[in-house]
């Protein structure tokens, strides 16, 4: 299985497997590890899902201390999960299964293993703080309840995502997070920026989601199961022929969701969401979904070169791009968003590797990021709330007016910059360590790529966060006209951010006690076998530590050189951004759709008729290519036509041609009548007097009708004269020829082959005895197939009603009067104001 050389044991080493049975078989399947079956996982999800509408119905904006209540469900679930740390660490997992659509392989299977628990704790833990914060952020706003609805629905979807043990259920929750985040981003739906950002986020994530769905279905079909644990245990799934395609599709899903290059462009736009939502979505949850999925699938596919190189290259490039872009933005949230992109790239990069360093680095980075990024976002929201803006150019000296907030941000920034002894430092150490690993093993290309990217990106992150910290909190004067302080935030407003920051900053100090409780189970899930970690904050002056120091130093240099850097980055052409490419693509799609629709739907009726007729003609022609012409035995079933019949035929033809050639309407109508008459005679000759009579009478009535109408309807203007007539005529003639063949073939087919005899003799035999009439046709019409006739007279009655309605509909003058009246009433509303482009900030 996995190659794992015993490490020199600086920061991590392995313990022997705890369960002897799991040494050689994958321990994550239910066969080997203990499971507990209950409904408690479903209950937790239900609690969250039910809290969503409940909190909305409670009209929270009316009560002052709602934050406590709102945080309660999430806190309860967090507490329960915390209690599960020990059993899960011992390999005892909760497993639940509920049928949904088992035929399709879709079932609500939940499984709480180390990875799920780790992510679940972050989701609900950060969620608790966010829920508390929201009450302050939206204090008194009537839309607070709706926000809670969305927030809890999102939280539940996210939790379901990490808990689910079924690929399709995972996808369901995945889409749930997409939808709820769409609504969250566009929460302030009057603003164009919010709406646009939401749409872009949804489209990108849906595109990825659909690719993901296809990939998951392919994988599931190949493995014969949609259960994740089952899939991971399927032998040979990694080498199946379909796997590269499926994996590529899954990568698309994960990369769009987790904002990897080139799909990172939706993330900054999503910052139009209210701050609690941004903080939650982009620090701890939504963007981690893709990472989580990759981590989930890691044990099965990590050996594949496709997996390794895709993740390595995408991750390192995204990391560089994100950290480089972050410094460019003066909007606090945008800056943080790009820093998030960088961290996400880092996580993807880490998942490319197969070493315990990388796993530990992954786990620690996830939690460290959640614990410093969420407070940073929350603080940005507080600044926005207090100052009315979060643009760095307008801010300065907040450290004096908002000292507590400044301390919070500073602590979080230290963690983000990776200053010891924060969790961020630990994460960076581990990252560099796992980049160092390939170097030590002599894989120079991989090692230098990973190490270099990690170093560079860390350096720019330091520069970015120092910029934020300095410009907003500690410098004296803003660049532009400064914003004024509206009101001071209450302690409750800052408390959630402070709590998270403290956890993040000081968590590393307790790493010894935490690592095997919290990190090890998650690493075990990644590694596919139980692992014991020995993480340490300090391990001497290793190259990694020296690099860390260098990063801090160079990062400070970047911070000092931020202005020219910003100018440089801003001068890059916009065509290089993937947002531009995306916009161009969507524009091109719209243009293409517009053009093709114009072409299809804008055509006059004639081509549309042609297409319909031609498709039938082509199908018939196709059928005839499959028949051998030798098999025409029935053609001579009747002898030669008599002279009369030939004459009739010629007369009909003459009539038809006369209809075409007629110069006036009346003569055309009469020529059609001639055709009708010959048809009548035809019927008469071949023993159908009823038909002949009906045809004759209908013909007469029809002619009267046509004459009555076309006597009155104005003649056609001569539109045909002029351009391009010859081509049109040729195409019409071609169509006519095709349809001529069609008619000919359709009649002929009756005589090529007859399967079985007609049912008609029965009618001849029985119409008198049973139907009591000697006119067999009439008996068929009114008795044997009277049901047809019933339908037919209904058609006639409907035609009469329709014609009556058309003649009785309001006439033109009346319509015109009405339209004028409506116009007068509408007045101003008739001229819609052109849509203005709002630039919305929250």
């Amino acid at each position: 299985m996995l190659q794992r050389a015993p490490s020199k044991g600086l920061s991590a080493s392995f313990a022997l497997p705890k369960f002897s049975s799991s040494a050689h078989s994958p321990p994550l399947t239910e066969n080997t590890s203990q499971t507990r079956k209950n409904t408690v996982l479903a209950l937790c999800l239900t609690v969250l899902f039910v809290s969503a509408p409940l909190l909305w119905l409670l009209k929270p904006h009316r009560s002052f201390s709602f934050g406590w209540w709102a945080a309660l469900p999430a806190a309860a679930v967090t507490l329960w999960q915390t209690l599960q740390l020990i059993p899960v660490g011992q390999g005892i997992f909760w497993v639940e299964r509920y049928g949904w659509a088992p035929t399709l392989g879709l079932e609500l299977a939940l499984r709480l293993d180390g990875l799920a628990l780790f992510f679940g704790l972050i989701i609900t833990g950060v969620g608790t703080c966010i829920a508390f914060y929201t009450a302050h952020y939206f204090a008194g706003d009537p839309r607070q309840g709706f926000f809670y609805l969305l927030l809890y629905a999102f939280m539940a979807s996210m939790l379901g995502l990490v808990w689910s043990d079924n690929l399709l259920a995972l996808f369901v929750f995945w889409e749930g997070t997409s939808l709820t985040s769409y609504l969250l981003i566009a929460f302030k739906s009057e603003y164009k920026a919010a709406v646009d950002g939401a749409r872009r986020a949804l489209i990108v994530t849906t595109a990825g989601g659909l690719a993901l769905l296809a990939g998951l279905v392919l994988l599931g079909l190949e493995a014969g199961t949609f259960s994740i644990s089952g899939l991971l245990a399927t032998p040979g799934i990694a080498t199946a022929a379909v796997t590269p395609i499926a994996l590529t599709l899954i990568f698309l899903g994960a990369f769009t969701k987790s904002a990897q290059f080139p799909f990172q462009f939706w993330l900054p736009g999503a910052m139009a969401a209210p701050t609690p939502a941004s903080a939650y979505l982009h620090s701890a949850t939504m963007v981690k979904a893709g990472i989580f999925l990759l981590a989930r699938l890691h044990p099965a596919f990590s050996e594949l070169p496709l997996w390794f190189w895709t993740l390595l290259l995408t991750g390192s490039f995204t990391m560089l791009l994100g950290s480089l872009s972050a410094i460019r933005y003066t909007d606090m949230k945008a800056l943080l968003a790009y820093a998030t992109v960088a961290v996400l790239g880092m996580l993807v990069l880490l998942l490319a590797f197969d070493s315990t360093y990388a796993y530990a680095a992954f786990v620690v980075t996830v939690i460290a990021h959640a614990l410093y990024k969420a407070p940073l976002f929350l603080s940005a929201g507080i600044v926005d709330h207090a100052m009315g803006t979060r643009d760095l150019r307008k801010l300065a000296g907040l450290g004096r007016s908002l000292p507590l907030l400044a301390a919070t941000v500073a602590l979080a920034a230290l963690s983000m910059a990776g200053v010891p002894p924060t969790l961020g430092y630990l994460a960076k150490e581990l990252l560099l360590e796992s980049g160092m690993k390939p170097l030590e093993q002599g894989q120079w290309l991989v090692g230098s790529l990973a190490y270099g990217a990690a170093t560079l990106s860390a350096l720019f992150m330091v520069g970015a966060i120092l910029t934020l910290l300095w410009e907003a909190f500690f410098r004296r004067h803003p660049e532009e006209e400064g914003a004024r302080l509206h009101h001071l935030p209450s302690f409750g407003f800052v408390a959630p951010a402070l709590l998270l920051t403290l956890l993040g900053a000081l968590g590393a100090l307790a790493v010894d006690s935490v690592q095997n409780l919290l990190f090890a189970p998650a690493v075990a899930a990644l590694a596919g076998e139980p692992v014991e970690l020995h993480l340490k904050l300090w391990h001497g002056f290793t190259p990694v530590f020296l690099t860390s120091l260098a990063i801090l130093g160079l990062g400070t240099a970047v911070f000092l050189a931020r202005s020219p850097l910003r100018r440089l980055l801003n001068s890059l052409p916009a065509q290089l951004t993937s947002l531009f490419v995306y916009d161009q693509l969507v524009n091109a799609l719209y243009r293409f759709a517009y053009r093709i629709t114009t072409w299809i739907q804008g055509s006059p009726m004639a081509p549309q008729i042609s297409v319909t007729l031609l498709s039938a003609a082509l199908l018939v022609a196709y059928a005839f290519t499959h028949s051998s012409l030798a098999s025409l035995p029935l053609l001579d079933s009747l002898e030669m036509p008599s002279l009369t019949e030939w004459l009739l035929c010629v007369l009909a033809l003459f009539g038809a041609l006369a209809t075409i050639r007629a110069r006036s309407r009346l003569s055309a109508i009469i020529a059609l009548g001639v055709v009708g008459l010959t048809v009548t005679l035809f019927f008469l000759v071949f023993g159908a007097p009823d038909l002949a009579l009906t045809q004759l009478l209908i013909e007469v009535l029809g002619i009267i009708l046509l004459v009555l109408v076309f006597f009155r309807v104005r003649p056609d203007p001569d539109l045909d004269s002029g351009q391009g007539t010859s081509w049109r005529t040729i195409s019409k003639l071609g169509m006519a020829a095709a349809m001529g063949f069609f008619g000919f073939a359709v009649v002929l087919i009756n005589h090529i082959s007859q399967v079985g005899e007609s049912i008609s003799p029965y009618f001849l035999e029985n119409s008198y005895s049973i139907g009591r009439g000697s006119n067999v046709v009439n008996v068929i019409l009114v008795d044997i197939r009277g049901y047809d006739t019933l339908g037919e007279i209904t058609v006639l009655a409907l035609a009469a009603l329709g014609g009556y309605a058309l003649l009785r509909s309001p006439q033109l003058p009346l319509l015109r009067r009405r339209i004028q009246m409506a116009r007068r009433q509408n007045g101003a509303a008739d001229q819609p104001t052109p849509p203005k482009t709002e630039t919305g900030h929250d």
Binding site: R663, D690, R712, G773, N775, L790, I793, A800, Y804
Partner: protein
């Protein structure tokens, strides 16, 4: 001049045509004819009246009958079909036979159905003819841009 001529035709031909229609209807079950044909002939008879007397006079003559004719026809047809349900089948023929002047006459639901057909056909044809004639008798709303091309 032509009008008097037409009136005369109307007086003579219309009743004859209507009689022919009834005749065609009655013999329809055994010989060529039947509800459709009879209905069409009757419609032709009424059209003759329209041509001769104009739509207003025709409406005066047949007016009260024409409006619900479609409904009546459909109802008759459906009823004839539904009567059959008594015997366990939609459209099941039920017959009454009696002797008149030595001839066996049979009346049955199929003929009732045929009557419905005839009424609907008359109703439909006359609705169109009458309405269109009415419209043709009034001048069109605007003749300004009527083109002269043949």
């Amino acid at each position: 001049m032509t009008e008097i001529y037409l009136r005369l035709v109307d007086r003579i031909l219309t009743p004859i045509l209507l009689l022919i229609a009834i005749f065609l209807f009655l013999r329809g079950h055994d010989l060529p004819g039947g509800g459709f044909i009879a209905g069409l002939v009757a419609a032709a008879a009424i059209e003759l009246t329209i041509l001769a007397l104009g739509s207003a006079a025709t409406r005066d003559r047949y007016g009260p009958w024409l409006a619900p004719l479609l409904g009546i026809g459909l109802m008759v047809a459906v009823t004839a079909a539904l009567i059959g349900m008594a015997g366990g089948g939609f459209f099941l023929g039920r017959w009454i036979q009696f002797e008149v002047a030595g001839e066996t006459l049979k009346l049955g639901t199929p003929q009732l159905f045929d009557l419905g057909v005839m009424l609907v056909v008359v109703g439909m044809a006359v609705t169109y003819l009458l309405r269109l004639s009415e419209a043709a008798e009034t001048p069109p709303p605007s003749t300004k841009h009527r083109e002269t091309r043949p």
